[in-house]
Amino acid sequence: MIPTHAATLPTTARPALLATAGLARRRLAYASLCAGLAAIAAIGLLALSGWFLTAAALAGSAGVATAMGFNYLIPSAAIRLLAIVRTLSRYGERLLSHKVALEGMADLRGSLFDKLAAQDSRTAPDTSPGEASNRLIDDVEALEDLVIRQPARHAAAVSALVSLVLVAFGGWRALLFLAAMMAGLPFLFRRISERLTRTPAEAAAAALGDLRKGYVELASARAEIAAYSLADQAIAQLEPSASAFDKARADLFRAEALQGALLSIYGGLCVAGVLLLARESAPMVALAMLATASAVEAMGGLSRSLLRRAALEAGLRRIASLNALDAALQEPVSAAAAPLAFGTHHVPTGARLAITGPSGSGKTRVLLALAGMQQPVADLSMDATPLASLPAWRLNSQFALSPQDAPMLIGTVADNLRLARSGVTEAQMWEALKVAQLDQRIARSEAGLDTPVSEGGGVLSGGERKRLSLARALLAERPWLLLDEPSEGLDAATEAALVESLRRWLDRTGTGLVLVSHRKAPLTLCGETIDVTDLA
């Protein structure tokens, strides 16, 4: 039916995804029940009104006696009841479907996080942090939207059935006709959605990715662009992807409108067909026509969700593949120190080694490779085994890194220190802060260890974050400490104090050190140096 492999994947992936998200059909059942009830009430309200009105007109014109004999109490009460049922069940549907989707997606986020966390940083699918994580977040939101729409899909099916039951009052010809039309609608509109939206949806996502990448590059060169008034030239560089983005989005919007228009024409065809084919009394034909009209309208929910599905397919596929990852987690264990080898140069446990080399020669990469964050490019080994063939948890048990950019989780100083290992006490935190020459600064801060740390600033300066990152690495108590420019941004006096306290800490704990620094003072910690250019 649908030839491409890509098109069939999400249909099979979706139930698995929903199941992972704790969204077994049972949990959506109440929402679907409400949705179905709302659909029945909506169709019933209009159909019954039409029947009542027509029957009343015929009875009224047949004379006073017939009019008096007409049972108006039940239909008129039913109409009012249906109005109330429609309101309440719609409210229930909305609330319940959101509740299930929100709670289910919270679980899914948790389980996706666990699965991603269990991966090896060197090969993980989220290796380019910014873009991949943004995409993951967008994808989960899109899936959430689909789940919210799920009951509307069930309601569409209920509507179709209810309308068929009601149209049966209009005779078998009308029934057969409408059954064929209703059965054909999902297939027809799935085809239309596929055709109209797949390409623009993918083009829009791709163009937005390009645009963001290009824009971020320009934004980081903002000072120059502003100084030399180069904004026109710079923006002109973005023009192709901006145009592609606009065009794809316009196509997507138009596809949506076109699908709505086609649905409305389809509804018209159904109603006209029922009118022409019904062979019953006027009240029954009225009932059948209005039921048909409002059922096709309810099918709009299905067609819109088909449209979104087609647009979101790539995202659903991405989540499905992440969700299929193995979540088995090997936590680092406290291990005996292992000796290292840099090329032919052997480094015993507890040694202090500086890595030197001109800028851009890959010193930081050596540290990241040891830390299990990047594939090694240099010839490195641990315990006589090449780094690349060691599992990440073995590396993580040996090394504690304080990276050059001192990344911090959003949270407090204590949150970030607790990251180092489980069971860190406050006393240990203060001790590590003291070694990192940051204890007085944190003590001065009103909130102490609860001082907030955030992505772009917070109250800590760049140099202070750097020392916080150092304190975190110390707390991890691994056999090797990896430091990347630990004294960057410090004045000479603080730097000297930091180097001295680090020396004492290293002496006391017997921890090994691999250091990258272009400053003289920290280099005095190291007994030996290795030129990174010799490792290539």
Partner: protein
């Protein structure tokens, strides 16, 4: 250059006219939509009438089909116009915003990630609002009235019933809406931080894995996402009340119309009949009844887009207008020429820099008050640890950042010309093209010989020799260029721009000693002809400077 400006202007003008004109067509398209609804309702009603009187059904069926076709055309037209005008407005807004974010003067410095968020995501959110919500709004106001007007000739009582439900509906919306919305907005803002936790933790996965904190952070993420879901549901409980009100009155108006028409046709109204109803007009009224609340239901469906769009507008508001400027104004072309200083007889020639009581105070940043003077040829170092505000101070002097107070002027006290300052960045802007083109970005009229001379002077000689001279191709990522070479490119660009003041951001950071020494020597040499202010924490560079300004 001039022709381009005229073209741009005309393009903008046409765009503006198109947006205004096209938007004016939207109410017309909605009227066509209602006309379609009328045809459809008339087809259904006359069809029922024809069945009752055993008349031909072809004509009613034709009405029905004509009606839906008309509606299809109308909704497609509305959408087409909405897309075109929303995108046209978006292009204008984007051009403005991007200019300001990338090249304008800002009230505070922002990270490139935040800049991209403002420039792309927020701008798209506003476009979505213009696209999905705005075109419906006019219909929500006019649509119900037009429907009542159309229904009135068939049954003025039914029209009155419909309009009558508007009163309690409005009251209900006010009651359900205002109070709960305020609470919801407050609550949702607080939730934003909590949901940001997931984003943050996913971004920091490599670090979390490195410290073996997967399980602990995983628990935290689960707790936070669970909390977000739980609290959001609590908010929605009240937020959906207004939808329930809308739903109730839309159902009620249908029920009331049906019951009134039925009883009226039966002749059993408990009060004297105000009008004489027959089947076809009565059925027409019933078929039109759902149309009365339809525009408002459409509006409610697009309400989320409106909220997101408004939030985005609020976030963009601080960047909507340029803060009070000196120098660096919005002139798009004028300042680009490096020889502009000598061309313009305008402001007095640069005689040194005078900074007085300069204060920068933003969240997370406090600089100053700073006072210092620089000669017209000088080398001064702005020192202090990372994050203390050195780059922000340079940006303020370059006129890219509005200082909180204080003044920046030439020594004679006149404001700095917009093109007085050159900027040598740590990672220069690189555009796809040749090295020569990139070096001369700030001086497009420079001759090849001039460019070559400057390139040799800053020490790019070896690269030129190695990779094919000025014609060496460069991609925008600058693949194959080392940190030191990038630094030299930005210095060459600054020299070529012929500007008297050169601001250098961390010219030696992350460089090996040899490269750093080379750059320092070059800066010292340049200081005999230009005024150079470097932001640095490199002791060697600070020693080389004639003056240290410690932050």
């Amino acid at each position: 250059m001039h022709l381009k400006a005229v073209k741009l202007y005309l393009h903008g003008l046409l765009n503006l006219i198109y947006v205004k004109f096209a938007r004016a067509l939207i109410p017309g398209a909605w009227l066509v939509d209602i006309a379609g609804a009328v045809l459809f309702a008339w087809g259904v009603a006359s069809g029922v009438g024809a069945v009752a009187s055993h008349a031909a059904l072809a004509l009613p069926a034709a009405w029905i089909l004509c009606g839906v076709m008309l509606r299809a055309v109308a909704t497609c037209t509305v959408d087409r116009i909405a897309v075109a005008s929303a995108q046209a407005a978006s292009r204008t807004r984007r051009a403005d915003l991007w200019h300001r974010l990338l090249g304008g003067r800002l009230a505070r410095l922002i990270s490139s990630g935040e800049s991209a968020n403002l420039a792309l995501d927020h701008s798209t959110a506003i476009e979505n609002r213009d696209q999905r919500f705005s075109p419906i709004r006019i219909n929500a106001v006019v649509g119900p009235l037009v429907v009542a007007l159309v229904v009135a000739p068939a049954s003025w009582v039914a029209a009155a019933i419909m309009l009558g439900t508007l009163v309690p509906f409005t009251l209900g919306m006010i009651l359900a809406g205002t109070a709960s919305r305020r609470a919801a907005e407050r609550q949702l803002a607080a939730l934003g931080a909590l949901s940001g936790l997931f984003v943050d933790r996913v971004t920091h996965l490599p670090l979390i894995r490195h410290f073996g904190a997967e399980t602990r952070i995983g628990r935290q993420v689960r707790a936070a996402t669970g909390e977000v879901a739980h609290r959001t549901v609590a908010v929605l409980r009240t937020a959906f009340l207004s939808n329930a009100v809308l739903e109730f009155f839309s159902a009620l108006s249908i029920a009331l119309v049906a019951v009134y028409c039925g009883f009226s046709l039966l002749g059993l109204l408990p009060f004297p009949a105000p009008e004489k109803l027959t089947l076809v007009p009565a059925f027409f009224v019933l078929a039109m009844a759902p149309e009365f609340y339809l525009p408002m239901r459409r509006l409610a469906a697009a309400y989320h887009e409106k909220q997101l769009g408004e939030a985005a507008e609020q976030a963009l508001a601080p960047f909507a207008a340029e803060p009070e400027t000196y120098g660096q104004d919005g002139d798009p072309d004028g300042a680009a020429g490096g020889s502009a200083v000598s061309d313009n007889a305008g402001p007095a020639p640069f005689d040194g820099l005078h900074v007085e009581r300069l204060v920068l105070a933003f969240p997370g940043l406090a600089v100053g008050p700073l006072d210092f003077d620089l000669e017209s040829s000088d080398l001064a170092a702005l020192s202090g640890p990372t994050g203390i505000g050195k780059t922000s101070t340079l940006a303020a002097i370059a006129g890219q950042l509005a200082p909180s107070s204080g003044s920046i002027s030439s020594r004679a006290g006149t404001p700095l010309a917009g093109d007085a300052a050159a900027w040598a960045a740590q990672r220069p802007l690189l555009m796809t093209g040749t090295l020569g083109h990139n070096l001369a970005l700030a001086a497009p009229q420079a001759t090849e010989a001039e460019i070559l001379a400057v390139a040799q002077r800053v020490g790019l000689g070896p690269v030129l020799a190695r990779r094919g001279g000025l014609a060496m191709p460069i991609d925008h990522a600058g693949s194959g260029l080392s940190g030191g070479e990038r630094r030299r490119i930005s210095l060459a660009r600054a020299i070529l721009s012929a500007r008297p003041l050169i601001l250098c951001d961390e010219p030696t950071a992350d460089l090996d000693e040899d490269s750093a020494t080379g750059i320092i020597a070059l800066l010292r040499e340049l200081a005999s002809e230009r005024c150079i202010l470097v932001a640095t924490h490199d002791p060697a560079l600070i020693r080389a400077a004639r003056q240290e300004i410690a932050l």
